[in-house]
Amino acid sequence: MANPFSLLNGPEDLGRGPVFWGGAAIVVALFLAVPLYLSDFAAYNVSYYLLNIPMALGLCLLWGYCGVLSFGQVAYFGIAGYAYGVIAGNFVGHSWGPMLGSLGGLVMAAIVAAVFGYFVFFARVQIWILPILTLVLTLLLETFLGQTAGYQWRVGVVQLGGYNGMTGIPAFQIGDFVFSGYSFFYLALGLALVCYLACRMLVNSRHGKVMLAIREDALRTEMLGYDIRVRQWLVFVLAALLAALSGLLYVQWGNYITPSQVGLLSAALPVIWVAVGGREKLLAVVIGTYALNWLNYQLSSSGNQYALVIIGALLVIVMVFFPRGLVVSLADLAGRRSAPSEASTARVRG
């Protein structure tokens, strides 16, 4: 077993060494110091940019590292969100309700992903058809949830609500401590950080290398002794769990969810965040997801009707000029610039 720091500092993500970690510490410190320069309300908004990071990291593992594009990560986001709403909503007044709801959301999403993934990967469905299958799953979910407006679509005291959505979803709490404002911001920040570091350790581990091998050539990997069905299935379930985590944070942040959260438009967004940042590197995806969520929020909250058109146009521009993603391309450029200077230093020393 490799030591944790060497896994964190490994070569399969952007950034290594003391300068990188020093810079990262400064960025994290700036986030931690948010109460010093942002209001409680503004910090709550920043939470929104952070809460999608786990879902994007999951898609990055699945698509960027394992070569399996899923267009339906929002299905697990939605399943977890709705499950949380139903469970926590039925136990209002009990301090353990939100905790049980969170656990229920994660378990439900994992079960759906495990069953769906089992049929897809163990039946050896061609990998190119997966984006369509996953998209169909989330659209089915949207259609189902959309017709739950009637009074009969009630679980305990919670109404599913059809296209009006589920409202009044309880905030997250541990014991009697309810997360809101700054405390919710710290929760979202902490989870984003933990997920990122854990994913970074995963991609630098032996499993991470096998994921890369599967992306490159699944048959060759299988003929090196790996059961690729199991590997792809496990990454698929992990990605679903990360999407579910984002779904939980979303409903705990906004206290509502509607079927449009699992619709076509929402399904496309994680793919855009991951592609624009650069799907091959976790850090690029974190930066891309944060920046695009910030941009989308700024455009929408200023009443701009064209927020999604602008985001879509950005995707097209980035894909044409930086097919590997904006952040990955910039990091490459920076790497190439520093490489010749190192070489010339070596010549001078020589």
Partner: protein, 240 residues
């Protein structure tokens, strides 16, 4: 007679109306270095794919190291000790040489003991491969990519090495080195089965040669016995 490491009995495979492998029965003795030859379309690569479980069989059975592997998953067969290099080179092109060598299951090699470790080290040294090399595998010369794939397979510590045209596209000198390394690996007791149609290369390495033609075993024996036969020459010249 040395014990057979691989026993193939009545192997059959049909693709639509085309019979690719027709009742192939063959034993490979432990420690042998055997070549499978035959003209294009003789069913050589299909035969390897069937051994590895990459196609479903229409009939017949495969026993490897005394165990029936006929219905086993490809990855399980590799863990049992089969190692395959493909006809078209399949190293991980966009990964570095280091990553390519890190991916195979070193743990299995460890379980197979010191001999497997020696073979792997020998391949790295004789094929001039560096475990720390960060060069992208797509950017190394063709013959080194071929060698890298053999080394990757040896990294998993196989007991039977299946090589599908390992010298395709190599210059004579590189072919010579490949032959020498394979002979030396075989001397350590490693069983090697090679599909090849470069007869000069076959002559350099093979102890025993099996000729496949139209999916059937057409001839079997030493290289001199087989090449002396007029009917074998005829199929190579397309007269049959």
């Amino acid at each position: 007679m040395t014990e057979a490491i691989l026993s193939i009995d009545g192997l059959k495979k049909q693709f639509g109306g085309v019979v690719a492998t027709d009742n192939v029965t063959l034993d490979v003795a432990a420690g042998d270095l055997q070549c499978i030859i035959g003209p294009n379309g003789a069913g050589k690569s299909t035969f390897f794919a069937l051994l590895c479980g990459l196609h479903e069989l229409d009939g017949g059975g495969i026993v490897f190291k005394g165990k029936d592997i006929t219905r086993m998953l490809p990855s399980r067969r590799v863990r049992e000790g089969l190692g395959l290099t493909f006809q078209t080179n399949r190293v991980f092109g966009s990964l570095s040489v280091r990553q390519n060598l890190e991916i195979p299951l070193a743990s299995i090699r460890g379980e197979r003991g010191i001999l497997a470790e020696d073979r792997y080290r020998m391949a790295l040294e004789r094929f001039d491969l560096d475990r720390q090399d960060e060069t992208q595998a797509a950017n190394i010369p063709h013959h080194k990519r071929q060698w890298l794939e053999i080394a990757m397979v040896l990294a998993g510590g196989p007991d039977l090495l299946l090589l599908d045209e390992p010298t395709a596209g190599m210059a004579p000198e590189e072919t010579g080195n490949t032959a020498a390394v394979l002979r030396d690996l075989n001397r350590t007791g490693l069983t090697i089965l090679v599909v090849e149609h470069d007869m000069a290369f076959v002559r350099k390495i093979a102890r025993r040669v099996t000729v496949l033609h139209q999916g059937r075993v057409f001839a079997d024996g030493t290289i001199d016995e087989v090449t002396a036969r007029q009917d074998v020459r005829d199929i190579y010249l397309g007269r049959r």
